[in-house]
Amino acid sequence: MESADNAFITAFHLIVSMDPVLTGIVLLSLQVSLSAVLIATLIGLPLGAAVALWRFPGRGLLITLLNAFMGLPPVVAGLMVYLMLSRAGPLGQFGLLFTPTAMVIAQCLLVLPIIAALTRQVVEDLWKEYAEQLKSLGASRARAIPTLLWDGRISLVTTVLAGFGRASAEVGAVLIVGGNIDGVTRVMTTAIALETSRGDLPLALGLGLVLMLMVAAVNGAAFLLGESARRQAG
């Protein structure tokens, strides 16, 4: 077994030489998490805004659910999607289990509540301030939604990036519904878990480094974006 020092050097080499196995895993991770976040954003932004602007029966329950699901443990999300997609489940006929699509669905389930709940909060706060002025300028409530989303863009982008951070860092959900199949559903987090347990430290370390850099970059970008926008917009 290699020493940790050696493992580091080999890991670094894997990254710099763009090792095909490592690259494949990184690309699949990105593809899955970005798709999940994109879908969650397309649903979450209008959903959050609608919940913020309209009163309807069950609204309180929906808000409570969204907030509660923000902290949904990834393994539980994975289990839920597994039950839906397994052969006996309601969506079993589509044969999605152990495919990247299943992983996208599971991560979407993890990220959607975050985006929708935080969007509701942001839009509701803005609406308190804007409601009379927008009505005065001739905007309907529905027409106010894109206006509010745009004016809340700084917080919303931060929210979406937070969602991406959560999606790309979780193991439990993708492991359960993806199965960590080599070359098909193996992503960074599941690969790290497996390779570490198998003792292949260089690949685990290499992936760990890439994942860490990615998440750090995303968080850094969110921070810088917020700062510069705040400085600009007052």
Binding site: Y130, E132, S136, G138, Q232
Partner: protein, 247 residues
């Protein structure tokens, strides 16, 4: 036959026995008055008299709980169509988190005006209110006076038949106040009906053609400015003018 493309003027605006109740409190009650098709009306009264409430009711931001508010030329127009022919400038303007120019363009975006037209009209309005140099600045970093002028420029592109201003200068210094008063006169010269609240007597004397005086949710006077300032009919208005009944 009249040309159907030219909308009939909305004014006059008639309020009949208008009341606004909240819980068991009559915040406004028994307001009957008419705003004719031209001129500058100042809505006066001590704090909490109901001035803001009255203007929000007229503008359609709130519904009266009693009585009726009728636009003579309103016909069957809905609230939104009605509001698009009016404008309101609030005590603290709510500016969108965008550039000054984008703020002025916004009501035109709502009306579906083409991008080029929008740009042209917005630039003309910014120019008119001395804001051209600030067009690209984020609206939220402008000074209080600039923000209020920007709100006026935004109202300007709507070509309102009537402009409501709710104490638009109460948070401004004298120079900025003067700029707002000049802007009000500009609107007036273009034929916009002015309804403005203020508790600044000097300002009211400078601007008013007629005065609506409210006290504790009641309409105590609606008279020509000279009459109101020289011979107020109610004891409350007289006290208000002496400065005894301010808050």
């Amino acid at each position: 036959m009249s040309d159907l493309r030219v909308p009939v003027g909305l004014l006059p605006l008639a309020l009949r026995e208008v009341g606004f109740r909240h819980g068991d409190q009559d915040l406004l009650k028994g307001i009957t008055l008419q705003f004719g098709s031209s001129g500058k009306t100042l809505v006066m009264g001590p704090n909490g008299a109901g001035k803001s409430l009255l203007m929000r009711l007229c503008h359609g931001l709130l519904r009266p709980t009693e009585g009726s508010i009728r636009w003579h030329g309103g016909g069957r127009l809905g609230g939104q169509a009605l509001r698009r022919r009016q404008a309101m400038v609030f005590q603290r303007p709510v500016l969108l988190r965008r550039s000054a120019r984008a703020n002025v363009e916004y009501p035109l975006v709502l009306q579906g005006v083409s991008r080029r037209q929008r740009r042209r009209q917005a630039d003309a309005a910014l120019e008119r209110f001395g804001l051209s140099a600030l067009a690209g600045r984020p609206a939220r970093v402008l000074s209080g006076g600039e923000q209020q002028r920007l709100a006026l420029a935004r109202a300007w592109v709507m070509r309102p038949e009537i402009l409501f201003l709710d104490e638009p200068t109460s948070a401004l210094d004298p120079a900025a106040t003067k700029a707002v008063e000049d802007a009000v006169l500009t609107f007036h010269e273009e034929g916009t009906r002015i309804v403005m609240s203020s508790h600044n007597l000097g300002q009211a004397r400078r601007l008013a053609d007629d005065v609506v005086f409210l006290c504790r949710g009641r309409l105590l006077e609606h008279s020509p400015a000279e009459t109101f300032f020289t011979a107020p009919a109610s004891a409350e208005a007289a006290a208000f003018l002496r400065g005894d009944l301010v808050w």
